[in-house]
């Protein structure tokens, strides 16, 4: 298993043929999508519920509060610039007043768990 990209979208599966003294041979590789459907592990589900309860206790209903709306889909730009990604990089440059800001989208902290408002 290998890391692939970010946001837990895929698990990488790679099979190598490794023999001492020989060149390592790539047999196959694939990206296995991580989906939230399917059977759930009860122990993990209980841990998640504990964390959710702790969050609710700490922040109450404020996390679900709608503070604005946008006609634009505010999504990160995995495959090109978006209104939101350009806003984020301009914001970082504005606060530091540097000549430029350079990043790849997945190096920012903009991880969405629901992409539409």
């Amino acid at each position: 298993m290998v890391q692939t990209g970010y946001n837990g979208k895929y698990v990488g599966k790679i099979i190598l043929n490794v023999e001492p003294g020989k060149r390592t041979e790539l047999v196959s590789y694939e990206l296995v999508p991580v989906l939230n459907q399917g059977p759930k592990d009860s122990a993990i589900a209980a841990d998640i519920q504990t964390a959710v309860n702790l969050r609710d206790k700490q922040f109450g209903t404020r996390l679900g509060e709608v503070i604005g709306t946008s006609p634009d889909r505010l999504v990160s730009g995995d495959a090109g610039p978006t209104s939101f990604s350009q806003f984020a990089v301009d914001a970082m440059r504005d606060i530091t007043n540097d000549d430029m800001l350079w990043t790849w989208e997945h190096f920012m902290e903009i991880h969405h768990n629901r992409q539409e408002m």
């Binding site: 946008s70 634009d72 505010l74 999504v75 730009g77 995995d78 495959a79 090109g80 610039p81 978006t82 209104s83 939101f84 990604s85 350009q86 806003f87 984020a88 990089v89 301009d90 914001a91 970082m92 440059r93 504005d94 606060i95 530091t96 540097d98 000549d99 430029m100 800001l101 350079w102 990043t103 790849w104 989208e105 190096f107 920012m108 902290e109 903009i110 991880h111 969405h112 768990n113 629901r114 992409q115 539409e116 408002m117």
Partner: protein, 166 residues
């Protein structure tokens, strides 16, 4: 939309910090050349450039430089041109101040000690990305619409919206 901050440390609840560093213009040019050639999308602020297409002869020559590697198969005939920083032409031997997410700078420095030769004086600022977005939204009041790239340039290069095909 819901977001959560990315972080390195367990108690880093405000998310990643913005780092600053100083880099030479030639590194910017090489970086743009790489992302244009191999179609990686990079998010930029303060930098603009045009995208030019090389001739078939030059493209074949460039491909030959990669031999029979995967790179030769995925490279594109595009390259950056007319690179400007804050509206001024890029100076290859000029040093520029760069802001970048903590993860990018710390990750780059961890790749090799040689990175210190090209990324100078890197250090964290007191600002998190979260802080920056909050302050900037209060400042500008409204997130400006950015039209996504369309056509072959968007498919091949997927670069900054400030890049324009010529």
């Amino acid at each position: 939309m819901e977001m959560y901050p990315r972080k390195f440390e367990v108690d880093q609840n405000e998310g990643l910090y913005i780092y600053e560093a100083t880099i030479p213009g030639i590194l910017i040019k090489l970086g743009l050349k790489y992302i244009t050639r191999f179609g990686t999308y990079v998010a930029l602020s303060g930098v603009t450039y045009d995208i030019q297409k090389m001739s078939d002869k030059d493209f074949q020559k460039a491909k030959n430089g990669y031999g029979d590697s995967v790179d030769a198969n995925i490279m594109s005939p595009y390259f950056p041109d007319n690179i400007k920083v804050n509206g001024e032409p890029l100076g290859l031997f000029t040093w520029y101040s760069l802001a970048a997410p903590e993860s990018l700078v710390r990750g780059a420095m961890a790749l090799s000690p040689l990175m210190h030769l090209v990324i100078h004086r890197n250090h964290p600022t007191p600002h998190t990305i979260w802080d920056a977005m909050n302050a900037y939204l209060l400042k500008i009041g409204k997130i400006q619409h950015v039209e996504p790239l369309r056509g072959p340039i968007s498919l091949v290069t997927r670069n900054s919206h400030s890049a324009t095909p010529s």
